[in-house]
């Protein structure tokens, strides 16, 4: 499997890109406003786009499987997912690429939900037009993506907890009891925070210290 990955990556740099575009409906979140079928159809005419589909939920198990299958069957080497914000599902789809044997950095997302369908709810045509542009932009960027290798660095197994109130105390004890060293920093001369000043606390009505 591993050798397979390397072959695909080296191929993708040199050969003509083979891009797959997936326009997600996100149920009706996107599809109610944006004409996803039209977006997918127009995207299929773009250079280097080999597959262009619309898909009910790209992030769902069957949705991801469909993309993974296309990567294998159609020899895709770049994927554009036009769905929600990359701040939400970029990690999901990067994992999916990994699963399909592609470098995770060969993914590009177009934000059709947070930055299109949800903010132009009363302008369906303009929103569709914007979606087409966003996909076009994503494809043009995807064309030039190249694989990147993640670096593995050592990590200090130690946590700084800032604040020694009930929250800081609980977090420190949980970490320390799990075998992690903790540095607990408190501004005041004693830990305890605001809770230490309270009388009995609900529901046990016992002393708060």
């Amino acid at each position: 499997m591993k050798t397979n990955v390397v072959v695909k990556e080296s191929e993708s740099i040199e050969a003509q890109p083979r891009i797959g575009v997936y326009v997600c409906h996100c149920g009706l979140n996107i599809a109610r406003i944006v004409d996803c079928e039209k977006v997918a159809e127009l995207a299929s005419y773009l250079d280097d786009v080999v597959v262009s589909k619309n898909i009910t939920y790209a992030c769902s198990e069957p949705g991801q499987q469909e993309i993974v299958d296309d990567i294998t069957d159609q020899g895709l080497d770049r994927v554009v997912v036009a769905s929600c914000s990359p701040r939400l599902h970029e990690p999901t789809f990067r994992q999916m690429l990994k699963k399909a044997g592609l470098n995770p950095y060969l993914l590009e997302m177009a934000n059709l939900r947070e930055q299109c369908s949800w903010v132009h709810m009363k302008e369906k045509d303009a929103a569709t037009e914007k979606a087409i542009d966003l996909v076009k932009m994503a494809v043009s960027r995807a064309r030039l993506l190249y694989p990147l290798i993640e670096e593995i660095l050592p990590l200090t197994k130690r946590t700084l907890v800032i604040g020694g109130g009930i929250a800081g105390i609980q977090a420190s004890l949980d970490l320390a009891d799990n075998g992690y060293d903790v540095v607990l920093v408190e501004k005041r001369p004693s830990i305890g925070g605001t809770m230490a000043q309270l009388d009995k606390t609900f529901p046990t009505m016992d002393c708060s210290i």
Partner: protein, 601 residues
């Protein structure tokens, strides 16, 4: 609390503050300023001999000034560490020996006036921010007369009064005559849920704090008359409604309506006037004592810490989580987590839950003992590098080394590089590639965007952490804005190269917006300073070339400013409408000429 003091794996620094944080997820170097205690906390046995001889008497902060302490003191009996400390500003001093009585009294010789503040550096892999809260100061709410009448107390003062370990051993008495009150009123939402004074959010804990207070009072003084003035009683948690009903059954009167005024009457009792909105009438109530249920505010020092750690705040001033539902204890910065009220007002149970969650998230990150870093870092093409040193100058992380004297090309330390891309944007010789955000990748996006009817479109560069997130927040909040806006995401606004802007205008863009985190909030320390400088420079050049500089805008929009994002987009649309087709054509011509001239040179 004592478990923390005793735990072999917990190193506790009290009277300490974070002054600097360097590094990145997995490997942070934290500078801690430990203030001098003047008492050796390991040797001190808390015998109290020093306190007996100290002549300085001051109000006790822990009891909110309801009792007194000495200049050498223990914050409260169960304090951890169990050691005294000296407030050196209050102490009469020892040199020349003005007082020094405590030194004589201490058998263990733990008092040391030569102690000084220490700066300690600790290496950690993750950070939990549990900075808690501060309490609302009711002084600005003059209608409740907290500053004028002594028998108006805050809820925290009341907690100290009814506490068996408090200044009165749990005896609730009036400050003026030290007699137990026969009637007490509680005023809810002091500093909360008000657009006028205090905060507009609900502080979450004050309703139940009051309900509990009424139960404690009824337990101690069954005949006491208690009235609670409220807008809504929010008893939403498990078992909360039962507690509220129990309080009502015990005869506590809940009256809907907040007092408009508080007057002092004979014997320093208080008269409040309310509009009872259940009964629809004006009422006055006479009470021996009033308790103000104070709201929760962000902790002092939140802002400083936010800047140090490169975090974001909500408009309320609490820390902003990476995702309100799916990552409620994660900060947007990897390796940093929130616990307790730092993230928003919450009660004890919720704080504990969140703290355990934060601990679990930190463990999830650390348990492998290694960390994979994003390869979104910059790289130098040695053949193009002139060793001018600009990249090293702009790098916020000191991740680039160049030997200017010996003309040795720049080298990027990829472990230290955080990937803002400022170096690539500032390099005049195209000698730096910003991986995953290369010039050609971004220019391709600009070109695709402006391919058809560029005149109608608004090109926006947005940084991943603030402006792009702000746009997402506008989306989540369904705030509508003009649909001709197109965003290009970069990790930092520092990445926005001059050539992207020239390319945009050259391809017919009517307006361009560069947007990033507010100054001071930059996710990459201060990379956005370079953005600001660069945009200024480009605007000057535009002016010289005869292109209206207003067509290039710079805005700082935070991740929480969805409304502001939409407003800025509206403004960009207004600007765009002012740009005529002739003006765009003229700009394209000017920039073509400029290119030609540059080529000739």
């Amino acid at each position: 609390m004592t478990d923390v003091g005793r735990h072999p794996r917990i190193k506790l620094y009290t009277m300490s503050e974070i002054v600097d944080v360097k590094g990145y997820v997995g490997n942070f170097d934290v500078s801690i300023l430990k203030k001098a205690r003047y008492v050796d906390e390991t040797d001190c046995t808390a015998c109290g001999d020093c306190v007996d001889v100290c002549p300085v008497v001051r109000p006790d902060e822990f009891n909110l000034g309801l009792s007194s302490r000495k200049a050498i003191f223990m914050p409260f009996p169960q304090a951890v560490p169990s050691a005294y400390l000296i407030n050196v500003n209050e102490c009469l001093g020892h040199n020349p020996v003005v007082c020094a009585k405590c030194i004589e009294a201490c058998d263990k010789d733990c008092i040391n006036f030569h102690m000084s503040d220490e700066e300690i550096v600790e290496s950690v892999g993750s950070i939990v921010v549990a900075t808690g809260l501060s309490v609302y100061e009711p002084t600005e709410l003059d209608e409740y007369a907290y500053t004028r009448f002594e028998n108006v107390l805050t809820s925290l003062e009341f907690e100290r009064l009814i506490n068996a370990g408090g200044p009165t051993q749990g005896e609730v008495i009036r400050p003026t005559d030290r007699r137990p009150p026969k009637s007490i009123g509680f005023i809810q939402c002091v500093g909360s849920r008000s657009a006028r004074k205090g905060a507009s959010y609900c502080s979450n804990v004050c309703c139940m704090n009051t309900v509990k207070g009424t139960l404690m009072l009824k337990e101690h003084y069954p005949d006491i008359d208690i009235k609670v003035f409220y807008i809504d009683i929010r008893a939403f948690g498990k078992g909360f409604e039962d507690l509220y009903r129990r309080s009502q059954r015990l005869g506590v009167q809940y009256l809907r309506g907040l007092p408009g005024t508080v007057e002092e009457i004979a014997d320093q009792s208080l008269r409040v006037s309310i509009e009872n909105t259940v009964k629809g009438r004006l009422e006055t109530h006479e009470l021996d004592m009033l308790v103000l249920a104070l709201g929760i505010k962000p902790a002092t020092g939140t802002r400083k810490l936010q800047e140090m750690l490169g975090l974001q705040l909500t408009p309320d001033g609490f820390f902003l989580e990476a995702h309100p539902k799916l990552q409620p204890v994660d900060a947007a910065t990897r390796g940093i987590f929130y616990a307790g009220c730092a993230e928003g007002p919450k009660d004890i149970k919720e704080s504990v839950t969140q703290s355990s969650a934060a601990a679990a998230r930190a463990i999830r990150l650390m348990h492998k003992g290694e960390i994979t870093t994003e390869p979104i870092t910059s790289e130098v093409i040695p053949e193009n590098c002139t060793s001018c040193g600009k990249c090293a100058e702009v790098c916020p992380y000191n991740a680039i080394t160049v030997d200017i004297k010996n003309k040795i090309p720049a080298v990027v330390n990829s472990a230290a590089c955080a990937g803002c891309g400022t170096c690539a944007a500032e390099c005049l010789f195209d000698a730096i590639i910003m991986n995953h955000f290369t010039d050609s990748q971004i220019l391709n996006q600009v070109d695709a965007l402006l391919e058809e009817s560029p005149k109608e479109k608004i090109l926006v560069f947005a940084c991943n952490w603030c402006s792009y997130a702000g746009a997402d927040f506008a989306g989540v909040s369904r705030i509508q804005y003009p649909p001709n806006v197109r965003l290009i995401r970069t990790m930092c606004s520092g990445r926005v190269d001059e050539k992207f802007i020239w390319d945009g205008f050259g391809k017919g863009a009517p307006v361009i917006l560069v947007s990033g985190c507010h100054i001071g909030d930059c996710h990459y320390i201060d990379a956005n300073h370079w953005t600001e400088k660069r945009v200024k420079k480009v605007r000057k050049k535009m002016d010289k070339l005869g292109i209206r500089p207003e067509r290039l805008q710079l805005e700082w929009i935070s991740a929480a400013e969805g409304v502001r994002f939409a407003e800025v987009m509206q403004r960009m649309e207004t600007l765009r409408r002012e740009v005529t087709a002739e003006e765009i054509a003229e700009t394209i011509r000017i920039l073509k000429d400029r290119k030609k001239k540059k080529k000739q040179v």
